[in-house]
Symmetry: C2
Subunit: 384 residues, 2 copies
């Protein structure tokens, strides 16, 4: 039927194919036609019968019939340019691209408003977990003061193997790669960069201002070893890589840190590739959302729901950029586990407990922490 709503998908990778597959097989999506798909690999033609595969983005941008562009390439600069061009051409955009949204949320939100189209990115954080839309809802009448989350499926999968199945870090990473949870180059995941982008997006929405992602401290899990694993288990705790974001008036503090979690804490129950996001707000109190944070279908599901929302004219994120936010540290005092580099020592006054191969600090300020962490091979913060 010519009355179908025509869309295009950019990139037929894991998520892009998931979107294609759901649309093709869902009764609810029968009013939608995937008219064109952008992919460099023309051999993929065989798996998308009836849809035109193109290699030049202009074939899509110049197609006036196409109303919605689904960006699932996950590229940096090129994805950004494609999204921008789409909005300027008055096409709505759905994307899972956390890098682009984290860096350009204010500019792209302005552009979509000026062109009177939609820009939705539910899939950019938490895979299949609905969090972006609920957060835009919450901030309408609440002040958000804290967000905490396990936002990366790869690292959580690895830590689950280590802490539940007694596997080493390298074996866990290998298994994650075999299962498709970790990329060939897993650096962005393991060092916390992926979570930097995600907590920046959530914080930008929550605090109504752009966050400079370069100001976010992050320490990943690449340096964890078997000694740490044994030490942490002995303490009866579990290690999780946790993103945290706090706000006091116009001061915000964002970081990604290995964190020691008690076994009666809900964060300790979030395992494998699952994610959790906890949001504290003034009227609503604490809300938590959890589910699969990675994988083809949960992510594609979030994208398809965004496509539906555009067609039904329901969701519309109104990004307010009204706060001048400085990433800084609040006056929190925290306790830390440290395994120091060889021949390094720290002053006794900071130490609560010292063992052969690790130490636990008293509650110290972030400034004190900053000095000590330079001498450390690995650390983890005791979560409150």
């Amino acid at each position: 039927m010519s009355s179908k709503i025509k869309i295009a998908i950019l990139g037929l990778g894991t998520v892009g194919f998931g979107v294609y597959d759901i649309i093709k097989n869902s009764e609810y999506m029968k009013s939608v036609e995937i008219k064109k798909i952008l992919d460099k690999d023309l051999s993929k033609k065989d798996i998308i019968k009836g849809t035109q595969l193109v290699t030049n983005y202009q074939d899509i941008i110049n197609d006036e019939e196409i109303e919605i562009i689904v960006e699932t390439m996950g590229a940096g600069e090129f994805s950004y340019r494609c999204i921008k061009e789409a909005l300027l051409a008055k096409k709505s955009v759905v994307t899972a691209n956390k890098e682009v949204i984290a860096l350009h949320i204010a500019e792209l939100s302005k552009l979509k408003a000026e062109n009177n189209v939609s820009l939705l990115y539910e899939a950019s954080v938490g895979g299949g977990i609905p969090i972006i839309y609920p957060l835009f809802e919450i901030v309408k009448i609440n002040e958000v003061n804290e967000i905490k989350g396990i936002l990366n499926g790869t690292t959580n999968f690895i830590l689950t193997q280590m802490f539940q199945n007694d596997m080493s870090f390298s074996d866990s990473l290998k298994l994650a790669q075999e299962k498709g949870f970790a990329e060939a180059d897993p650096t962005a995941d393991l060092e916390g960069l992926d979570m930097v982008r995600k907590i920046a997006i959530l914080s930008s929405i929550a605090y109504k201002g752009e966050i400079d992602i370069n100001s976010i401290d992050h320490f990943g899990i690449t340096k964890i070893n078997d000694v740490d694993l044994v030490n942490i288990k002995k303490m009866g705790l579990v290690l999780k890589l946790i993103a945290s974001s706090k706000r006091i008036i116009d001061k915000v503090s964002l970081m990604i840190e290995p964190s020691l979690v008690k076994t009666n804490d809900v964060f300790s129950t979030v395992n494998e590739e699952n994610n959790i996001i906890s949001v504290n707000s003034s009227i609503n109190g604490n809300l938590k959302f959890s589910g699969k944070g990675a994988g083809r279908y949960p992510t594609a599901n979030a994208i398809v729901n965004d496509i539906i929302a555009i067609i039904e004219k329901r969701k519309n994120y109104t990004f307010e950029n009204i706060n001048n936010l400085k990433a800084d540290y609040l006056n929190d005092m925290d306790k830390y586990y440290f395994r120091l580099k060889e021949n390094e020592v720290i002053a006794d006054k900071y130490i609560e407990k010292k063992e052969k191969d690790y130490l636990i600090t008293k509650e110290i300020s972030r400034e004190e922490f900053k000095k000590i962490v330079e001498k450390a091979e690995f650390y983890a913060k005791f979560m409150r």
Copy 2:
């Protein structure tokens, strides 16, 4: 300004006043005017300066300026009639009334569609937790096969005091009443009726068919005693009152039961007046939502968000009533804890472990369970 959107609130109780308060104090709600409030107690005039207090619903129904009616009386038949009249008068309705929605979801959904208005009820389940809208989103492209939840703040508060603070059932209930979490007559909460209504609403949406709430088995926590408390603690488990709902093709099974939860299960971490809802679906896998399930402001917050959604023409629940559902039991085999009534015995073949004052069954069918539970004073199911 005469361009303000005019609404009316029915009932200025705990939640109704919360809605009034948020609207009056929120920048985002400045385009909304609460024109009239229905309440029998005219002395409340003093606390709602500038808003007209009326005692006759016809004063609201006949007011053509009023576009949205917020029903927070929590009554049965009278609330139902008010909602119906409002829809027929082409006014949109927002309600927290789980009883009315559970009983009349199909009829009222049809009525609102015919009159081309909105009917939103996010606050009817889970207080401030967004679950109704996400569930309507999920079912568009997913098949839901299971929902589980701690859906009642009162009973969860009481069980938390018993299991974490070593309080007796009666002291816990008293504390809940003092804190305003339990009503003067707490029967509907304690015996699981409140949860019956909530799981019926979620199941109706999830499985796209009306659920006969009389077909839902429920066993509350009024019969728990100190012996049970000691026994369950000795097993290293925690007791939670849990609603469960499963579907296999056109067969559904719904029940509310005291359930024994392991301490590494996320349900054991949901304490005090908090709720959790877990939804399993075909594409998205398992999603969990948790937060404050009771209390003036979280509930009022959900209602205010629904008002905003109507004004911004965003949310619109499309309730599909396409399945002929029979509440029945699936072939699940489960283990149970039983404390029998005096002089009652059950056949040895069902028993895995027998102690002086309780017994634990082998895995038994629901039919076998049904026969045994008649002889029991209290029971709890071992949660998988």
